[in-house]
Symmetry: C2
Subunit: 112 residues, 2 copies
C-alpha cells in the first residue's frame, strides 16, 4: 500500500514555483497571447497552463518548461553562454568524480 502522500513543501520550493508561474504569466500577457493559445502550442490543456501560472506544485517539469519556452522565457537557455558553459562544466565535473564519494559522505552533517 502506498502512503497517501499529503505532501508538504519548503518555503523555497513554493516560492520558486510561484515565481516561475508569475514570470510565465507576465511574459504571456506582455506578448498578448491567450492561455488557450499557449495550451494548444504546448499540447496541454488550458487548465494545466492555468495551474502552471498559479505556481501549483503538481504540474510536471516538462509541461512547465515547455510553456515557459513558448512564452519566450529562457531561464536555462542554450542561447545563454553562461549557462551553456555551466552545463559543460557540470558534465565534466561529474565525469571526473567517482560515482560515490565515500570519504566525504560520512563527514558531512546537517550543516546547511
Amino acid at each position: 500500500m502506498v502512503k497517501p502522500a499529503n505532501r508538504s513543501y519548503s518555503r523555497y520550493a513554493r516560492e520558486a514555483a510561484t515565481l516561475l508561474g508569475l514570470m510565465i504569466r507576465n511574459a504571456r500577457v506582455e506578448r498578448g497571447i491567450t492561455v488557450s493559445e499557449i495550451a494548444e502550442r504546448a499540447g496541454v490543456s488550458r487548465g494545466l497552463v492555468h495551474r502552471i501560472e498559479r505556481g501549483e506544485m503538481t504540474s510536471s517539469i516538462g509541461a512547465s518548461f515547455e510553456v515557459a519556452a513558448i512564452v519566450g522565457l529562457h531561464l536555462f537557455d542554450s542561447e545563454s553562454p553562461t549557462l551553456t558553459h555551466y552545463l559543460r562544466m557540470e558534465q565534466q565535473k561529474l565525469a571526473l568524480l567517482p560515482r560515490a564519494v565515500r570519504t566525504s559522505t560520512t563527514k558531512v552533517k546537517d550543516d546547511f
Copy 2:
C-alpha cells in the same frame, strides 16, 4: 476519452530540465549527500530523485524544487535580492494590467 499523450518537448524544455538535473546532482555530490538521504528529506522515493537528476520531463515541479532546495540550490531564492525584487515587480505589473489585454491580442502574430 483522453488522448494517450505521447508528448514531445522542445529542445529548450529538454535542455532546461537536463541542466536543472545536473545542477542538482552536482550540488549533491559536492556536499557528499546520498540520493537516499535526499529522498528521505524530501519525502519522495529514491527512484524519483534519480529521475529528477536525470532531467526526466515527468517529475513534478514540487518534487524537483524541493530536492533543489535540499541540496542547497537556490535558483529562485528569496535570499536573492534580484529575484525577490523581480517577484514584487511581477505581481505589481500583473495587478496593473486588466485580466485580458484585448487590443494587443488580435495584433500579435507568430513573430517569435
